[in-house]
Amino acid sequence: MTRNKEILNSLITLTVREVRRFLRIWVQTLVPPAVTMSLYFVIFGSLIGPRIGEMNGLNYIQFMIPGLVMLSVITSSYANVVSSFFGVKFQRSIEELMISPMPNIVILTGFIIGGVARGVIVGIIVFLVSLFFYPDFTIVDPLLTISVLILTAILFSLMGFLNAIYADTFDDISVVPTFVLTPLIYLGGVFYSITILPEFWQKVSLANPMLYVVNTFRQGMLGVSDISVSFSLIMQIFFIILFGAFALRLLKKGTGIRQ
């Protein structure tokens, strides 16, 4: 067996294990986003939405759909990797990976694919749920939509991985999602266009990375955005490379996993 074939087998094994993990606990991983987003669609879309009127020339529920899909993708991909990698550290099954001849890049890729798979599946589920509330939704630019979906899932899976590497306790894996990610996502244009904000807060919002992710996805799904799509895509790719390289460096050093 060639070395490349062995590496591919290792990657398939880790990926299958990661996907099997979140599918085994689907009630915890796949159902909650569908339930929560259904409530958002009912309350903000069907009940309050008609009173709000249009946002960027679109029905409010239509405007909200890309934001809510993105919110689900970001939280699911992040949560998958941070809980899975911290879990293997906590249960010591990280040792299974460390004593094996798997290169670090394969370990990182396996966990990231797991996070991307959960993020994309949850994104699709939430989109299908949204069709119950807005059946006429059509995706304007499928290629851009899919690209942003996958890039976002990769980016936040990597962030989850970095969080898990540094985490020592269960508190450490909940601090960032609760106190950093969630506020940034909610203030990142999921429910509104920044054009409705006073000029000062519009400028402040431009420092929120979630704004770029949500708006680029909205550009793909609806053809409207508050920011430059090409700049957003370049920044996403830049941060994926940066975080990926950093994660590999930490794995090589053994930070958080090796004494």
Binding site: I12, T13, G87, Q91, S93, E95, Q259
Partner: protein, 306 residues
């Protein structure tokens, strides 16, 4: 080509806390050996094994596994190595068979290739009937066996067993000894750490004792046991004795009227002692060692290093 499975030179480990766990140890384990690495708690055994298996980073020194320096090509060295860790380290929520097949996958073996070997190994270790159960439902002993199955799935040439029988009942322990001996007889080099010194005495050909981060004894088991000056035996007597019998040159005590404990020096034969006993009209029903011989030596060596 060397005939060594493991060569450790001037290995040092200092943890961030400032604790020096290894103070320049040198160790060689020959191919095919069944080697015991013993030492009291905190002596440096786990640090040594951790460095060999990449769970701990060394401060300085070198480790070669089948002549492959871990600094040059650790991944290649890892292929030859199987480790049964001291702590259970598999996911409790996965099925027994999946855990073993997944471990094979980490070594580049596809699931279809791993299945026949998994079946053979699980059957040999008495786990086949439990293959579809989640690992958390296994008893402590079966979990230990699963650790061994996992470590063997890629046919390692060097198997390190770190306290493999800790907390395992005697019947299961003996079954595991047979299995491990069989693997050794098939050519796999084995390094064993254990707190059951009887286990090391029965299984291992060579031994190193580590204490306070230094190797304080490194020899063959036979050589080490021959250093024992006195052995104590417990004799069950056919007739109860009301007084302690007296025999010149032997130290004896009666623990109860039917049980005599005697210390026999290395240069005296047991036959000679039985002859003397017979002369004073005492006959023996059965006899056993008072304590494990290796245990006595171990305590002596560790004490002298204090």
């Amino acid at each position: 080509m060397t005939d060594l499975a493991l060569k450790i030179s001037s290995l040092e480990k200092k943890y961030a806390s400032g604790v020096k766990a290894l103070d320049g140890i040198d160790l060689e384990v020959k191919k095919g050996d069944f080697f015991a690495l013993l030492g009291p708690n905190g002596a440096g055994k786990s640090s040594t094994i951790g460095i060999i298996s990449s769970l701990v980073t060394k401060t300085s020194g070198s480790v070669k596994i089948f002549d492959i320096d871990i600094d040059d090509n650790f991944n290649e060295a890892k292929r030859k190595l199987g480790v049964v860790a001291q702590e259970i380290n598999f996911s409790p929520f996965e099925k027994v068979e999946d855990i073993v097949i997944t471990q094979a996958g980490f070594y580049g073996i596809s699931a279809s290739q791993a299945k026949p070997k998994t079946e053979t190994t699980l059957k040999r270790l008495g786990l086949w009937e439990k293959r579809s159960e989640q690992a958390r439902n296994l008893s402590g002993g079966l979990k230990r066996r699963l650790m061994i199955a996992k470590a063997l799935i890629h046919d390692p040439e060097l198997l390190i067993l770190d306290e493999p029988t800790a907390g395992v009942d005697i019947e299961l322990r003996r079954g595991m000894w047979d299995f491990i001996s069989e693997i050794n007889n098939q050519g796999t080099t084995i390094i064993l750490t254990t707190h059951y010194l009887e286990e090391a005495e029965q299984l291992c050909k060579n031994i190193a004792i580590i204490d306070k981060g230094k190797i304080v004894e490194n020899t063959s088991m036979k050589e080490l046991l021959s250093k024992l000056d006195v052995q104590s035996f417990i004799l069950d007597l056919n007739q109860p004795q009301s007084n302690l019998p007296s025999l010149a040159g032997y130290t004896m005590t009666l623990s109860d009227p039917s049980t005599l404990i005697v210390a026999i020096e290395k240069d005296k034969s047991i036959n000679e002692f039985f002859g003397e006993l017979s002369k004073i009209g005492i006959s023996v029903k059965s006899m056993r060692n008072e304590s494990n011989r290796l245990e006595e030596l171990f305590m002596e060596i560790v004490k002298s290093n204090d």
